[in-house]
Symmetry: C2
DNA sequence: TTGTAAGCGTTATCAA
DNA sequence: TTGATAACGCTTACAA
């Protein structure tokens, strides 16, 4: 049996430096309340012992963790990674640590993760989108945990949000599609259940359809999880009909990439034979040929601002004002005029 | 001012159920040591109060966090996401929680993350690759923190590892390239500094070059961070020379995707004009046209086994035996015979 | 099967 | 400026 090597404690440091534990604690947390000489002595004791504060003990005593939790739908899609990166950088600047977990787009999993993070003492929570069971909001409220929603702005959500208007963004893109003469549109959407971003994007298309005096019932929609292959398969299904659409609007760039690549396989020229649009403007959108016409989302800006707002909520214990960020259409080559045939 | 609502404690539950705190604790941790009737009473008290155990307090008392930390190079690349998903699922099954952070491929950041995770009481650590400063290994050893390396198997690393032989895998693929008649190879590699996976893959190609009696000095290599666009740019540089390579081997699929897409832009037919290979076999590899010939890595198997091994290390306090996983070449269309021209 | 009570390593209040 | 000391909420011998 190897001997156990318990980590050195505040007490060890205090003894070695010939001071009380309170003084050591002060050296760590409010160094300006300790005289130079003492501080130095403590400092070297800390280094000699290789002391690191025990996180759990600190949390218990201070009732603060300096930890922010974030629950994202998936780690497998770069969309969230980028925004979260900015989020975490900003947190780090303010001395906070980020705890991430992913819900795999499952509401039940998300709820479990929320409880876990709260039990672990997260000082605040970042959530994606507004769609979740009311009792979760009540739980958060009862526990008095500051929480903020990102990726979807809504002035009247239960929680303040920093994000963009998914519906308006997609509406604008659909208008552009109509302007180019398209009339037979189809949508490859993400799963809308429990996902307001997906639902609102779809609603945006429907708004435009109605606005043009067309029948929203006539709009073909395939819902499928956000994976390249699913986009490809949905596209194939759409295009193998008697009167295929002239434009396929996709719920995000991943789905659109699948559609685009499958179009190649099917010998369809984009945008001559069919137009394809995406959403998010990830790296892939720029590199595909034809490059993807899509909606640019300010992921990094969103992450950074979300961090600032959440820290504000945590430290001031005040509800944050939400913030409406703007998206814009990036016109590239995958969207063209409708084939007049 | 709103009234503070402190979270209910074990004590609250005990009082409400008319038992001692010890009994409530047992209901939570060793339910079989409590009689049915009592357990039920406690259970409903817990529900009525909406009690959740305080993590920090539990950690302090039990000296276990049931938390495993993992530090990966990046969240922005799906390669790690998939393996980590399996890792986390397996951990979850055993009641452990995963704490992930990313180092952005920076050794200094990785070290900081390791210290943070240890301070937070991680029961064990998953690290990617073997390349790191010796004092980090010493720190881990002093603190007696079980740690395991994944994504790179090496029988004589400082830490046990579960992964594959990056060098042998790439060697095998290079041999296949040579078998197809290629003689002018080039490599688009990831940055090798501090990244043994990247370095070993490159070494694998060099081994094959030497084995064929060719001069390894003659092998053209571009090192660049793993991003689609970097792959594209490196490819363009490679192909705009007087005597361009007939085959470009890429350090991973992301780089290869960039190369492939740029080839299209340049009007080069793959594999007729130039062959391209990848590494990892991510989703994108299958969907690209031509589909990518690459090395399949058992990410999910690796994640699952790493979790099992690490839990074993944590619970038995015994060093785990590493495990050598196997990769295999997936032949698709991006690699063809050398153009005899 | 259940209860009592002693820690666990900090922070923070109050005195000195 | 520093030192005692009481929390913090839980687990776990040990006792009953």
């Amino acid at each position: 049996m190897s001997k156990l090597k318990p980590a050195p404690t505040l007490d060890d440091v205090a003894r070695k430096a010939g001071v009380s534990t309170a003084t050591v604690s002060r050296c760590l947390n409010t160094p300006d309340r300790v005289v130079e000489a003492t501080r130095k002595r403590v400092q070297s004791a800390i280094e000699a012992l290789g002391y690191t504060p025990n996180f759990a003990a600190r949390v218990m005593a201070a009732k603060r963790t300096f930890t922010i939790g974030a629950i994202i739908p998936t780690m497998e899609n770069a969309i969230f990674a980028r925004g979260l990166q900015a989020f975490q950088e900003e947190l780090h600047q303010h001395g906070y640590t980020l705890l991430v977990s992913s819900s795999a787009y499952k509401p039940a999993t998300e709820e479990e993760q929320i409880r876990t993070l709260v039990a672990r003492g997260a000082d605040g929570l970042l959530l994606i989108g507004h769609d979740r069971a009311p009792h979760i909001y009540e739980f958060l409220q009862r526990r008095d945990i500051p929480a903020l929603v990102a990726w979807s702005f809504s002035p009247d959500g239960r929680l303040p949000s920093i994000g963009f208007d998914n519906r308006a963004a997609m509406y604008e893109l659909a208008q552009r599609v109509f302007d180019l003469g398209h009339r037979r549109l189809a949508v490859i959407s993400g799963i809308t259940h429990g996902n307001d971003r997906a639902r609102l994007r779809l609603d945006g298309v429907r708004d435009a359809v109605r606005q043009r005096g067309l029948d929203p019932q006539g709009l073909q929609v395939i819902e499928t999880p956000y994976e390249i292959e699913n986009g490809a398969d949905a596209f194939a299904r759409l295009m193998s009909q008697d009167t295929p659409p002239t434009a396929v609007m996709c719920g995000n760039d991943v789905l659109a990439a699948g559609a685009l690549l499958r179009a190649q396989d099917m010998g369809l020229k984009v945008p001559q034979d069919v137009s394809i649009t995406g959403f998010d403007d990830i790296e892939l959108a720029r590199i595909l040929r034809p490059a993807l016409t899509t909606v640019h989302v300010p992921h990094r800006e969103m992450g950074g601002k979300a961090a600032k707002a959440l820290i504000e909520m945590v430290e001031k214990r005040a509800p944050a004002a939400g913030e409406h960020l703007f998206t814009h259409i990036v016109e590239r080559q995958s969207l063209g005029p409708a084939n007049s045939a």
